[in-house]
Symmetry: C2
Subunit: 280 residues, 2 copies
């Protein structure tokens, strides 16, 4: 844990403008939302179309130089996935052509990407549709993506990503990967330029006129339906021969479900606008 | 249900290039993935930054002109959310300035957006990290967003969106919204230009060398951990007076959980590359 709670700098593109009382710039909170998401959405612009490209990828925050770094430290985002080198190159060329030479030289290397992840923690049902909401925790990171080419860093990142899918899975499989496997697997590293998060917690809140309407209160149910992700029972493949399910996996399923359910309930009973649970 | 299974046209920006055996262009499948997602990620480019903006929003496919249209029909996407008019305007101006006058005139009206949604259906655990995967269903729509200004269409869209959060909720709340509520709520309508989806189902699959390694088979557990979203027990707000939980809500929670759990299990036992369940 860093000595103080670090925050991302507010950039024009990263500042939360709607409901800014729900905003957070805390590295700890933002990284925690990313790390507990099964998928993140990676968006970037591509030449010759006005539509950004968006790819779902598996992502995990980490530091290759300081592997023991905490969730709240300055970290990079490692993504398991592939962006064609054509797009990476075209994107750079476009920047170079448009920007004056000096600016291009000063600009960070890599494909500019926006990475988004969200957890829905509850359906917030109020007296009137207008006041309906979700309890949620969302995070967005802005940074520059480059393919990881260093063999040791790539191996380290693959272990980080694999263990994020199921804790301790890496050393319980056939490792290390072969040369061919390493070659045909792509890992992207995103150097983070800015980030922001948004969190809504608590019970519904209605306008005074509705909340004081006795007939309405007697007719409309209000409250929260908690929402969380559930891992079901591990189901063996047709060629599995290991029985029963190994302890590390059974424990992971149990622990993940407990954490997810508890988080949804905690977010429900937490006052609105207060900060989310960040510990694991 | 339309007479034939409609497909989105493959555009350069919408064609799936990696693992294209997992691709789908079926309106039915893509719309189903969007409609069962609690949130969609809406991305668009903004002036003066290389980073796309990505906003999580609640979205639902529908047709105001043909309200009885099926999931597999040509539909628009309605989004509950707000994009500043400054960005909408700047985006149009940028297009106008760059494109020749004729092209600008021919171009569709609205902010170009990319809308992405994903369901993770399972953790697919194989003998080696390289063959690990998720069972998932992901969808991307590309289209042009405009704010809904017609009062009747906006009211219809708000009902569609509210009932997607909890079936039948709209008429069980205080409706219709007041003039002030209508004014301060924004709905965007996206006219879809193209779309694609990607689906992975089934058990793990390993390379021959690993799958024939007796020692490895005896040591590494392989299979699928199903993943699905769970709605917890509806929890009354401090000012709720309706007890017990109304039937429509209790049924919705039960039905949604049953569908989510069954889908995860069905995707697990379905052969790889086969198409996802599309019925509700």
């Amino acid at each position: 844990m860093p000595v103080q709670d670090l925050e991302y700098p507010k950039q024009p593109f990263s500042t939360v403008r709607r409901y800014d009382s729900r905003a957070t710039y805390s590295l700890e909170q933002i990284h925690q939302i990313i790390n507990t998401s099964l998928l993140v959405n990676v968006s970037f612009t591509v030449p010759d179309t006005p539509f950004p490209q968006t790819l779902p990828m598996i992502g995990q925050m980490g530091s290759f130089d300081r592997p023991s770094a905490d969730t709240g430290d300055v970290l990079e985002l490692y993504l398991h996935g592939y962006v064609s080198s054509r797009i990476m190159n075209l994107s750079r060329k476009k920047d170079d052509a448009e920007a004056p030479p000096d600016a291009a030289a000063a600009e960070p290397v890599g494909l500019p990407v926006t990475v988004a992840a969200s957890h829905v923690d509850g359906l917030v049902l109020s007296l009137t549709p207008f006041s309906h909401s979700y309890n949620y925790r969302s995070a967005t990171l802005f940074g520059y993506a480059t393919p990881v080419t260093d063999a040791a860093e790539k191996l380290w990142a693959l272990e980080l990503i694999t263990n994020s899918v199921a804790r301790d899975r890496w050393r319980n499989t056939r490792v290390p990967p072969t040369g061919a496997e390493m070659q045909s697997t792509s890992v992207l590293k995103v150097k983070i330029a800015a980030g922001s998060g948004k969190i809504r917690s608590g019970f519904p809140s209605d306008e005074k006129a509705d909340a004081g309407d006795e007939a309405l209160l007697g007719r409309v149910w209000t409250g929260v339906v908690p929402v969380h992700t559930t891992l079901g029972g591990p189901t063996p493949s047709p060629y599995n021969r290991v029985d029963p399910v190994p302890g590390y996996l059974a424990d992971y399923v149990k622990g993940t479900n407990k954490y997810a359910e508890e988080t949804a309930l905690e977010q429900m009973t937490k006052p609105m606008g207060s900060k989310a649970k960040t510990g694991n």
